[in-house]
């Protein structure tokens, strides 16, 4: 890390699905790797996630979703962050996201997409480099 203050990471669960195993494991893995981690809990609307990002002054947001609603919800989150002046906050994502959707998400600026089977080490190095 470039400075002594650890990066602040928001792990958020947009949509209505309650599958939080991945989100919690990543949250804990990042915390154990030295980051400050805030986890929102499940069933967050895009507005709630933007608000949490503003309040917590985060450097990056990890979005975890397994319901298949990512293409509907992620754009709203990205727009909301821009409106709130947080265009510099990096977004990464995980859950059940088909490869076919990566291009559309990357166009939104969501460049780190971590599917099933990803190692925590990969996510930690990604977050280290942002």
């Amino acid at each position: 890390m470039s400075s002594n203050t650890p990066k602040r990471i928001l792990i958020a669960k947009p949509g209505l699905d309650g599958h939080d195993r991945g989100a919690k494991v990543v949250a804990r893995g990042l915390r154990d790797a030295g980051f400050e981690v805030i986890y929102t809990g499940i069933r967050q609307t895009p507005e709630m996630i933007v608000q949490a990002a503003v309040q917590e002054d985060v450097d990056a947001i990890g979005l975890s979703i397994l319901s298949g609603a990512h293409l509907d919800l992620f754009p709203t989150i990205v727009t909301g962050l821009k409106k709130a002046g947080l265009e510099d906050v990096k977004i990464f994502a995980g859950g059940i996201i088909p490869k076919q959707d990566y291009e559309e998400l990357e166009a939104l600026g969501i460049k780190g997409i971590f599917g099933p089977g990803t190692s925590l080490g990969d996510i930690v190095s990604y977050v280290n480099e942002i």
């Binding site: 599958h19 195993r21 919690k24 804990r28 929102t40 609603a69 490869k99 089977g117 190692s119 080490g121």
Partner: protein
């Protein structure tokens, strides 16, 4: 040298010298619950820790060997592939296809708005309508799902919890329209909110009113739908969230204890409602531990019903369960391997004496399954049933030194956990303190660390990877289906008799505030064409909503 006369002699004289010459592989020989597995088991392992009575015979207390006298020689397990997606019409088509292919029961998946009490046109439902299951916002949706399916012939399991009373009300009302009396309906509502607070997350109300809705349903069904399972007390989702086999048994049974206590506190007699309780477990990858798990759970439940609740009716003491293979073991890498994983898991369920089974499809780490993938899952069940030979004799692994020893150990370890939960004040209090949640998080994180360290191998993921993988066709929900769904909802709302809806909803509100049973009022609401969201809004106002206790 003479042949060894005991396990100890064999260990000392044969095994130990062999290991001294050539070391065993450097791995931990243990189950997911951290039970050490010995190189061999022998008669000593039965005599030491087991009473012959604990093994017993099928259909005899304590039911270790199964709940029915004929098991699969009499009737095979119900082959039930969990499905539902896009819209009522698409779901109806898939159900009729599955029944045509030889499936013997239906298993309904609902979309998340339906599961959390919102209509398809609610803003929070954006992007979620029809994604993980069928949307049911009103009576007409349910009628379309069962169009040309005779509800007197099929049994239907519904994975529905917070809104279970409402979905059961739709089902009863559709049956009535088909001319099928409620008493002939066969099926299950999951209706298990405690595990939703722990792991699955589709709760709406706080635990107390949730328990009331659950016991109202028990009471109503005891007299009106005697062939309906009023709850499916589920370990599946807690195990998927990360817990071990021992924790799966313990948490599930401690939840079951809480439901029985709540029903008794509501004035019901244990043997009046307990025959309608059903269970739901995962079939995970450690085959022998899973077989032992099913057997241990059956025995533990029988003893609890008799010793703790004084049950006299054998039907209350028999743990009948549905099984699903483990979604969490499906890999996005080398997806064909998932067919093999799911087959082995399904094998454990059948060897463990399951009453019904869902086999996951190979593509489910990527999306909902394609029709082709689901067909392979159903064929997997049919191959196990008709080709493998394992259905010929009941509880075929009984008497295996290892299986019986492991069954005993799992029972004992689970019992300790249940005692711990009892000492916290029972399952509901434990949930409020985050006990189960923390245990699950811990186990899930430890497992991930083992995968990271390579001490646990996952084929195709952290070992034996392939460089190039062929792209696979995935299933997509057509967004037009949710537009049609929303249009039908709005059309229905503008043409229904609004005063009838309001009368029914007002009545429900009065009933919910009193201590009367809510089921008849909910049935009145759905027949008056009130929507799922409207009914839940009434109850949300009276019962309040549950906020998540974030534990990680």
């Amino acid at each position: 040298m003479e042949n060894p006369k005991s396990k100890k002699e064999w260990i000392d004289n044969v095994w130990r010298p062999a290991v001294e010459k050539r070391k065993e592989r450097d791995i931990s020989f243990s189950t997911t619950s951290d039970i050490d597995i010995e190189p061999i088991y022998g008669p000593e392992d039965l005599q030491d820790s087991s009473e012959t009575d604990d093994i017993g015979y099928p259909a005899q207390y304590p039911y270790t060997r199964g709940v029915q006298p004929t098991m699969y020689r009499g009737r095979l397990w119900t082959m039930r592939q969990y499905s539902g997606f896009a819209s009522a019409e698409e779901t109806n088509t898939r159900y009729r296809y599955l029944l045509d292919q030889g499936q013997t029961g239906l298993s309904m998946a609902f979309d998340l708005p339906t599961q959390t009490g919102y209509d398809s046109d609610h803003p929070i439902a954006l992007g979620e309508v029809g994604k993980v299951g069928v949307p049911i916002s009103h009576m007409e949706d349910m009628e379309i799902v069962f169009n040309n399916i005779d509800l007197s012939k099929v049994s239907t399991s519904m994975t529905i919890n917070s809104t279970a009373s409402i979905l059961l009300a739709y089902y009863i009302a559709v049956a009535k329209k088909q001319g099928v009396p409620a008493k002939d309906l066969r099926g299950t509502v999951q209706n298990d909110l405690l595990k939703e607070y722990v792991a699955r997350g589709t709760y709406i109300y706080p635990p107390k009113p949730s328990m009331r809705l659950i016991t109202d349903l028990f009471e109503y069904c005891a007299s009106e739908t005697p062939n309906w399972n009023t709850i499916s007390i589920s370990g599946y989702h807690m195990r998927e969230a990360g817990c071990t086999a021992v924790q799966e048994i313990a948490f599930t049974i401690s939840h079951a204890i809480a439901y029985v206590e709540a029903a008794i506190a509501a004035g019901l007699e244990v043997d009046d409602f307990a025959p309608q309780l059903a269970f739901f477990f995962v079939a995970q990858s450690d085959l022998l531990e899973e077989v032992a798990k099913f057997r241990a759970a059956r025995r533990l439940w029988a003893k609890i019903m008799v010793e703790r609740f004084g049950s006299k009716n054998p039907k209350s003491q028999t743990l009948r369960f549905h099984t699903q293979t483990a979604g969490v073991t499906l890999t996005a890498q080398q997806v064909d391997n998932n067919v093999v994983r799911s087959t082995l898991q399904a094998l454990s369920a059948v060897l463990g004496g399951t009453q019904s089974l869902h086999v996951n499809s190979k593509d489910e780490a990527l999306s909902l399954p394609t029709e082709e993938a689901v067909t392979v899952s159903l064929r997997t069940q049919q191959i196990l049933a008709h080709e493998s030979g394992i259905t010929n004799s009941i509880d075929p692994l009984a008497g295996s030194y290892l299986i019986e020893n492991l069954t005993n150990q799992l029972e004992q370890e689970a019992k300790k956990y249940i005692e711990q939960i009892d000492s916290l004040g029972g399952a509901v209090v434990a949930i409020e303190q985050g006990f189960q949640q923390r245990e699950i998080n811990e186990a899930a994180y430890q497992m991930q660390l083992e995968i990271e360290a390579g001490s646990r191998l996952v084929v195709g993921v952290n070992a034996f990877q392939s460089k190039e993988e062929p792209p696979i066709e995935i299933f997509r929900i057509d967004p037009k289906e949710s537009e049609k769904q929303i249009a039908r909802l709005q059309r229905m709302k503008s043409s229904r008799d609004q005063s009838k809806v309001e009368t029914a909803l007002n009545n429900l509100s009065q009933v919910a505030k009193s201590d009367q049973n809510t089921m008849p009022a909910i049935i009145e609401c759905v027949e008056a064409l009130a929507t799922t969201g409207e009914i839940c809004d009434v109850l949300r106002e009276i019962f309040g909503i549950q906020k998540e206790m974030v534990v990680f």
